[in-house]
Symmetry: C2
Amino acid sequence: MALDQTQTTYGIAELAREFGITTRAIRFYEDKGLLSPARDGQRRIYASRDHVRLRLIMRGKRLGFSLDEIREMIDLYDLDPTEVSQLKMFIDKLQARREQLRRQQDDIIETLAELDQLEDQSRGLLADREARRKAVG
Amino acid sequence: MALDQTQTTYGIAELAREFGITTRAIRFYEDKGLLSPARDGQRRIYASRDHVRLRLIMRGKRLGFSLDEIREMIDLYDLDPTEVSQLKMFIDKLQARREQLRRQQDDIIETLAELDQLEDQSRGLLADREARRKAVG
DNA sequence: GCTAACGTTTACGTTAACGTAAAGCGAGCC
DNA sequence: GGCTCGCTTTACGTTAACGTAAACGTTAGC
């Protein structure tokens, strides 16, 4: 009875396909300290932990964060809380990120509202055109 | 009784101060077709229209859009709807943006939830530390 | 034993979004 | 008239985030 750990591992190409990016990008993220896969000889072997991290990376990118910012956020996830002072700093960072995200939320809401307005206008114009085409044609 | 148009105009340094960016950036946005100020001789003169555009630009940047994307969005605002086919394309573009923004919203909600969880954990740890400090001290 | 398929390192190239420095112009002031 | 202030153009430099190419190793299949 060996250890039945959910032993999911991934090759680099596999991950690349799944996330729709290149292997080059994945290695680049490793260079930047965002990933640290195990090795089998030279080959990189990614565990589910890396898989999770990649998901976080992609999400961060969709939100427009830089890789440095993304690393900061990811590092927040697996931090061992030894020093109290670090814990406080940690909470402060969380707070800052939260505010940034809230601002983004507000920006999105504003933008969506404006897009709605634009769409209403153009749908009106379109309907108008159609009506005239009928009347004339 | 001259025309009492709200004749607000701005110099480039003025705008730079207000938006917290450099004049270099503002000129750069002009190069990229995001702004097109009037001129007094050589000097650039910005009207309230440009002011609005700059606000849109900054909002776009906070959301992580590229200047090209931002220009696309801004151009949506002052488009004259002559061709019906263009109108339809226009609406399609609106739709695409909207979906992108919605995905961002979802990403933000997820992230905020995770940050909340992290903060709860670390506040717990912090309280624990404080308690022990009291008990021992 | 050759050739794909997949992986590796090393290194130079590219694009976006400005920064920075140089050199010059026009208005106001002392 | 000289100086400073604010603005201008021109142009080269920089950073981030990869792309792309070269040259090589290793497992699988025929």
